[in-house]
């Protein structure tokens, strides 16, 4: 599998954590979109993307994050990105998306 997605609820901080494992690209982003948007639909919390095991993301994957954020903003909630790898941080940086999402604890 090119992408596996884990969802867990972080009770301590009262928020959902999504941990994608592998690559988010044109092939796998529909699956990522479904998981993210379903979760946003159901929940009222901030959503954390734990990028620890995310090796690659392309513009379609970034587009999914953006559409998720748009929905979350309506609820005055946010997407918090943690533990991302250097190559992905570079992408957030050059697109300016690091100012749109909350990006923390870069590796």
């Amino acid at each position: 599998m090119a992408l596996e997605i884990k969802k867990t609820f972080d009770k301590e901080n009262d928020r959902w954590v999504i941990k994608p494992n592998g690559e988010i690209d044109i092939y796998t982003s529909p699956e990522f979109k479904e998981t993210l948007l379903d979760l946003i639909e159901e929940s009222e919390t901030d959503i954390v993307i734990n990028g620890e095991n995310l090796d690659y993301i392309d513009s379609t994957g970034l587009g999914v994050l953006i559409s998720g954020l748009k929905k979350l903003k309506e609820k005055e909630r946010n997407i918090i990105i943690i533990n991302i790898k250097k190559n992905i941080n570079k992408l957030l940086d050059i697109t300016g998306l690091n100012k749109v999402f909350i990006v923390k604890e870069c590796k």
Binding site: I26, G63, I66, S67, K70, T95
Partner: protein, 142 residues
């Protein structure tokens, strides 16, 4: 393009299907590594190729049985990559810096390529398809 005659050419032709973009990325990585790029440049090339292939699939004919072609031209001091599709999409001449604050879900691809590569051009030719041409220079001393 007469001056490309003595350069090594590698061609890869892929079906218009999302599942094979990863093959393009891996092939590009292995060519870039063979040519002598450093790890960060290899990653840049991989990302740029991924975006160009994604565009070829998304903005071209949408016919899954069609294919698109990637050509790698290995020059002494640079790698030239052309991605050609058979769609009838229209590429814009200038690549704008996206305003991500607007939370638009699309319009990042060509800008990402532009940032990571030394040159990009997107040329649409009516009825014949679109070609994205990009160049990455090999740093001296690598």
């Amino acid at each position: 393009m007469n001056d490309n005659n003595n350069k090594d050419h590698i061609k890869l032709s892929l079906p218009n299907k999302p599942e094979f973009v990863s093959v393009a990325r891996l092939t590009a990585s292995s060519i870039a590594s063979r040519v002598g790029f450093n790890i960060e440049d290899i990653e840049d090339i991989k990302v740029a190729i991924g975006e160009a292939c994604t565009n070829a699939i998304q903005h071209s004919s949408l016919n899954e049985n069609d294919s698109y072609e990637i050509e790698f031209i290995l020059d002494i001091d640079k790698l030239i990559i052309n991605i050609r599709d058979k769609g009838n999409g229209k590429c814009k001449k200038d690549i704008k810096t996206p305003n991500v604050e607007e939370l638009k879900e699309s319009g990042l691809g060509l800008f990402i390529i532009k940032t990571l590569m030394d040159e990009v051009e997107c040329i649409s030719c009516e009825d014949k398809g679109t070609e994205i041409r990009m160049v990455k220079r090999i740093e001296v001393g690598v």
